[in-house]
Homo-oligomer: 250 residues x 2
DNA sequence: TAGTGGTCTAGACCACTGA
DNA sequence: CAGTGGTCTAGACCACTAC
């Protein structure tokens, strides 16, 4: 039993994981049911607890089961669904602006969110926010890249002073100053026309199609603390993402 | 040494991982250098090899180090960079069309890629492909959602017969018939105007802004085998993504 | 061939869950 | 309280890498 006698090149924990995956797929346990305990699985497969735990770790990483100390291992799914991820490692990659861009603030104004604005933002009524309008340009050429509207909680307003002084996107400046980290970023992308009052600033004809990119930044408590909305005239900007498939278990 | 005598609630392997992370950040080892061997780390931290390995697993999952059997553990980075992921679990989520849509094929035609087309597609010159033009509609209402142009390798053309018969996006039909899995999907999103010849079909005025979504599907060998290009008239469709921060180690 | 990380065992105690 | 998964030890052999 010690050596790998059979011609199976897979490690034992992998064999156990594959067997369990197959049994899950076969419907041995329904979703929500409890898997046998680790000790029981040790007996079933005649392996040590360590090996069983390595196998369960694989199942857990695939999202098939959930383990909870004290209560046991529950079935989350019978088979690994198709999964894709977009993995963004670089902050610049997230915003997808070339490094050589500069944001010029046009206006900044504090306001209190009325009912309608609060609903739009997803914040409480009466909260103090700052609205900033700005233009993003390439440093070299003159054509503006986009017209940006930023909304940030008034309590973080001083981070605005760092725009143009320190590099990086606003959310990074806020993190630097206040320690608030974006835990979640919601991105909405839509098409629209360049609004009339922005057309001149963007140096395009009114009615030019534009890519609207709206990002909502949420902190660890799920509270929205920044919203950025950029209007990018049609030919100047393309949003690009690469999605990788997460390989299935077997 | 057995019990957790100090008031440190972290498990030992976590303490070891955090200490190593701090040392990495402090520059004890440069990028590319070898970490001490697991046995050495056991002695340094006075823990068992299992504990060291759990700690190294954490470092590896954070992308700080790389482990290779036989050669050792090398430093990949001194600190975990900001990382965000978009995690797409549902296939429908990937395409973001509501379930109740139907694709109606207007035209389908086989062609050979000339030099220009081959360069655009990213395929070899002279290869046989099929171009399909189609309209996606909600089943209930009448307003078309988008005008779609599909390009697929001619060898997978029979998957087109399943459109409207089997549910799911084309790439899933191809996978079902031929076993080809998308390993990578590249998504480009841009703004444009609805082309004149599509305006009538989409039931919008010519010149209406549209969201162009172009997806390139690559198989495991990095070969493009399908491209879909959808033109979505402005108010009818918004692309939405949610990015989660990957928590740092400490 | 020496040394690395990968796998595996047997056994122990702990922290947490739920009856 | 009994039983679960979480952590940890001591020790072993194996597969792989590099010299």
């Amino acid at each position: 039993m010690n050596k790998r006698e059979q011609a199976d090149p897979r490690p034992r924990y992998r064999q156990v994981a594959d067997e369990l995956t197959a049994q899950l797929r076969a419907g041995v346990w329904p979703v929500g049911a409890m898997l046998p305990t680790e000790t029981e699985l040790c007996a079933t497969f005649a392996v040590s607890r360590h090996t069983v735990r390595e196998a369960l770790r694989l199942l857990e990483e695939s999202g098939l089961v959930q383990r909870r100390q004290g209560s046991g291992t529950t079935v989350l799914a019978l088979a690994t669904p198709d999964r894709f991820v977009q993995d963004i490692t670089d902050m610049a990659e997230l915003l997808q602006y070339p490094q050589e861009t500069r944001l010029t603030v046009l206006r900044a104004r504090t306001f209190e969110a009325d009912a309608e604005t609060a609903a739009q933002i997803g914040c409480g009524e009466g909260e103090a926010w700052v609205r900033v309008e700005a233009i993003r340009r390439l440093r070299v050429t003159t054509a503006p890249l986009c017209f940006t509207t930023l909304l940030i909680r008034a309590e973080y307003a001083e981070a605005l002073d760092d725009i143009g002084v320190l590099p990086g996107p606003l959310y990074a400046l806020i993190e630097r100053r206040y320690g608030v980290q974006a835990a979640l970023i919601e991105v909405d992308i839509a098409a629209s026309n360049v609004p009339p009052h922005q057309a001149e600033l963007l140096e395009v004809e009114p009615g030019t199609p534009a890519l609207l990119i709206r990002r909502r930044y949420l902190d660890g408590q799920g509270r929205v603390y920044e919203i950025s909305e950029g209007a990018h005239p049609a030919p100047r900007f393309t949003y690009r993402a690469t999605l990788k498939r997460i390989p299935e278990l077997p």
